[in-house]
Symmetry: C2
């Protein structure tokens, strides 16, 4: 699905929730840990329980790659369970010289049919261009991340602006509001007001609210635009909310809670 | 193998050549294009023909990922053909928040037993730390890349230095000369003199000489230190040097030529 269809789903469901499938075998409920297909059973149940309340699923590729061939198979199968009306994100943080980025674009847009992929900006335009060249696909470029390491480079001054601001300014000219989104971690939600001055129209993928980020209310207040323009991800807070055989129901309830908090922020 | 063993091999072989296995099915010699295991046959023959002249092999993961499950299998199998005395590099350009980078480190240092991996610096220390935490493994961080896009951010001024210089300064403190190398593309070889002032001891992985870079002589002159401290990669110039059934012999000859040019630069 493309960005237009995503916006339509957001308004229909009154939700801009993305569920992050960072599925780690060591964190599965006890009864699934020994199952050969534990990850598949887990992901399928999580998707079934949450799909009504979210508009997007984000697959963190690292957790699947770490299991080698078997993990790659599990990533493919998980992707096949996600309903077509949900926007799929390969959280892969790729980026390399042009002919190599073209291979990564092929990986995630053709071999695996993701709607979008996260990409690192360090190597500049020709490392991002091959992703943008795909029609009806979305490239999500790292802007300001929510980890401590953001202070090392992203929040260092380059001239009169932070590196991450320079990235938003520069990269936003390489694509448009339909094929380009940005990862923006809002540890302090009021930063989003400044970010919205630089990129008023692009969607922002926000890595999380609560513990590591601003409140849902503040992030929405400072970050939303007329299309909502936000995808707020929750991974561990939903998928590992409960460790019993009842895990999927609890995950569904957690997703529903977030959707209900979001629903009143649309007006 | 670790860096000490690499240095020993470099002096024994009088070579600091790395052969890049960016194997693309569409570029295989005609007689292998239709073979189900064309990539495996090709990589095995290239490794056999070049192993005497190089000290390292670099696998560009994008080219394997693009073929999905089959590609992942081919990457594993290719890795198994590389003799233990060659330093193996996963050219993967990964990097994410700490718990995700830990999964990538597991992928390339455990699931696949590479000696080293290339990593992007944008997200800062906690995105690189999980790689450095592995004993006897090497983390190769992007410094200055050789593509046009390097001008967009890497070669922009951050205070009184370029971003890439800030990266070299900062990241070099997170590790040591044994567990940390840097990718440095020398489009103008004299830049290496400046880079050597910032990081005199760390090995540099140089993406190529000739067409896109400085001459082998200049790169060596400005970049080498008492351990040589250079790995110079050649991918397409070796593996696609010939498109006939004789491809492996020609690849071997090309690798030998480079090794011979290198051998006279040791003194």
């Amino acid at each position: 699905m493309d960005k237009k269809a995503l916006v339509s789903e957001i308004f229909q469901k009154k939700s801009y929730l993305c569920v992050g499938l960072d599925t780690d075998r060591s964190k599965l409920p006890a009864h699934l840990k020994e199952e050969k297909d534990g990850i598949i059973i887990f992901n399928k149940a999580i998707i079934e329980a949450t799909k009504e309340y979210c508009v997007s699923y984000k697959i963190n590729t690292a957790f699947y790659e770490a299991r080698g061939l078997k993990g790659w198979e599990e990533m493919q199968e998980t992707l096949s369970f996600i309903p077509k009306k949900h926007f799929t994100i390969a959280d892969a943080k790729r980026g390399d010289i042009g002919n190599t980025s073209a291979q990564y674009a092929k990986t995630f847009f053709e071999t695996l049919d993701f709607d979008s992929i996260t990409v690192a900006p360090y190597m500049g335009e020709d490392s991002i261009r091959p992703f943008l060249d795909y029609e009806n696909k979305v490239t999500i470029v790292l802007g300001l991340t929510s980890n401590k390491g953001a202070n090392d480079f992203e929040l260092q001054k380059m001239g009169d602006q932070f590196l991450y601001e320079k990235v938003l300014h520069t990269v936003s000219k390489w694509g448009n509001e339909d094929n380009l989104m940005f990862v923006v971690g809002a540890t302090q939600a009021h930063e989003l007001a400044n970010i919205r001055k630089i990129i008023p129209q692009n969607f922002l993928l926000v890595p999380g609210v609560g513990a590591q980020g601003g409140s849902l209310q503040d992030v929405t207040h400072y970050g939303k635009n007329e299309e909502i323009g936000l995808l707020i991800n929750s991974s561990r807070g939903i998928i590992y909310a409960d460790n019993s055989e009842n895990f999927a129901n609890v995950a569904g309830e957690k997703a529903k809670e977030l959707q209900q908090e979001m629903s009143v922020l649309f007006s």
